[in-house]
């Protein structure tokens, strides 16, 4: 199929960017969205132009690197997928597709569609870990009883890949789904109890410091999250924070 692309081009973090129109032809509907951009870039390189910079790594939906705001939605119109897992069959021949970087004050653009998501790393450093020594003296897994439900819910929270789609989607650029998932993952398990109070307080403080907005429960993040992280995790984080503050 043949497509018109409107893509955000920005030379570096300090220059002003703008939307630029491109045409791509003979795109297979079986291509992933990133492969379609690869085709565009090969054409640009052949013409001696600067290729469109974009983030990617695993290309199998698990690393969380590929970002892109496609036609007004994080990771495009499909549900439960990252951009690398979005396929061109979701579009029609002749479509115009708008492609922008994830937008948030806390995610500054580095170049074109690449944004700096290290704010997430700093939130993790503030408390997204346990300090139990797990090397060499691991206990038998069954010696600490954990209910099936708690284990499953913790596992669901742990599937967050830190992609930032929740922030990009949220009208407030709030990171509460991400932080809620990271807090929940430990709050549900006995291993996470030791630092539970400090963890939630420090991670939320870092989140605010990075300039993310505040959750107003629109629920957009849950819909756009490629891993189906539930809003329940935000409620759990609110509960943990209240528990830690009194």
């Amino acid at each position: 199929m043949n497509l018109t692309l409107k893509i955000w081009r920005q030379k570096d973090s300090s220059s002003k960017g703008q939307m630029v129109d491109y045409k791509v032809t003979e795109i297979s509907e079986h291509m992933s969205f990133l492969e379609m951009i690869d085709v565009l870039n090969e054409g640009l390189v052949a013409k001696g132009e600067e290729p469109v910079a974009f983030d990617h790594d695993c290309r199998e939906g698990i690393c969380g690197m590929c970002s892109m705001y496609i036609n007004g939605e994080a990771h495009g119109p499909d549900r439960g997928v990252t951009t690398c897992q979005l396929h061109m069959r979701m579009f029609k021949d002749g479509d115009t597709i708008t492609i922008e970087p994830f937008r948030a004050a806390a995610f500054p653009v580095i170049k074109d569609l690449v944004v700096d998501r290290s704010a997430f790393d700093r939130i993790q450093h503030a408390g997204g870990y346990i300090s139990v020594n797990t090397s060499g003296n691991t206990q038998d897994a069954n010696s600490i009883p954990i209910s099936k439900q708690a284990a499953d819910t913790a596992m669901d929270a742990a599937t967050c890949i830190g992609c930032g789609a929740c922030v990009a989607t949220c009208k407030n650029s709030s990171a509460m789904l991400f932080v809620g998932a990271k807090v929940s993952q430990y709050a549900l398990l006995p291993q996470g109890q030791v630092e539970a109070a400090d963890r939630v307080k420090n991670m939320v403080a870092q989140m605010d410091l990075e300039g993310f907005g505040n959750c107003t429960n629109t629920g957009a993040c849950e819909v756009e999250c490629p891993k189906g992280i539930s809003l329940d995790n935000i409620a759990r984080m609110n509960r943990e924070l209240m528990k830690a503050s009194i």
């Binding site: 937008r103 709030s174 300039g211 993310f212 819909v223 409620a235």
Partner: protein, 190 residues
């Protein structure tokens, strides 16, 4: 009450308007609550718009969230405009009569018995005012359609949020509709 009986409305209005618990405890708490809520609302909106310094060229909000949830600030501002109108209509005149002129009798020259019902009917004669009331209550309904369940989520009660979804929706339709009925009833009957 004003729909069913003018006398009952008068009695209750006089009680509410002269009872010290209502006047000096409940009323300040309510006013403080509303002021606190909209001041916090504006601060929240300011922080949240700052959190996205460059906006999207194309954003498809309707794909993942309700209109109500994305426009709380606008439904809130409509309610605030109504509250200001309501204060000009009723609250300032009451405070003036009671606290400045010291008249706590609840009566008025040319009106037999208490004056409250008379004043109410008089206010709802003007179609523009009735329209303003009706529009404001539609916005209140929109505000509550998101706000009711949102409040449970904010305090961490996610399971209650889901259970009360229908209750919240019913509440945010029935309460404003009741107020709309009152305004229209008095407009059409006098």
């Amino acid at each position: 009450m004003s729909v069913f009986s003018a006398d009952l409305f008068n009695e209750v209005s006089h009680f509410m308007g002269t009872n010290p618990v209502v006047q000096f405890a409940l009323q300040p708490v309510l006013i403080f609550g509303v002021v606190f809520h909209f001041v916090m609302g504006f601060i929240l909106e300011l922080q949240n718009t700052r959190a996205r310094n460059v906006s999207y060229a194309k954003n498809n909000g309707g794909a993942n969230s309700t209109w109500m949830s994305r426009n709380m600030i606008w439904s809130g501002i409509a309610i605030l405009a109504f509250i200001i109108l309501h204060f000009i209509d009723f609250w300032f005149p009451e405070i003036n009569t009671k606290f400045i002129q010291g008249d706590w009798s609840g009566t008025m020259e040319g009106v037999e018995g208490f004056r409250y019902y008379e004043e109410l009917v008089h206010k709802f004669m003007h179609p523009a005012r009735v329209a303003a009331y009706v529009i404001a209550f539609v916005f209140l309904g929109l505000h509550l359609a998101h706000g009711f369940t949102s409040a449970f989520q904010s305090v961490g009660a996610a399971s209650l949020r889901k259970k009360l979804e229908k209750v919240g929706l019913a509440y945010s339709i029935i309460i404003p509709l009741g107020f709309i009925f009152i305004a229209l009833f008095h407009h059409l009957n006098h």
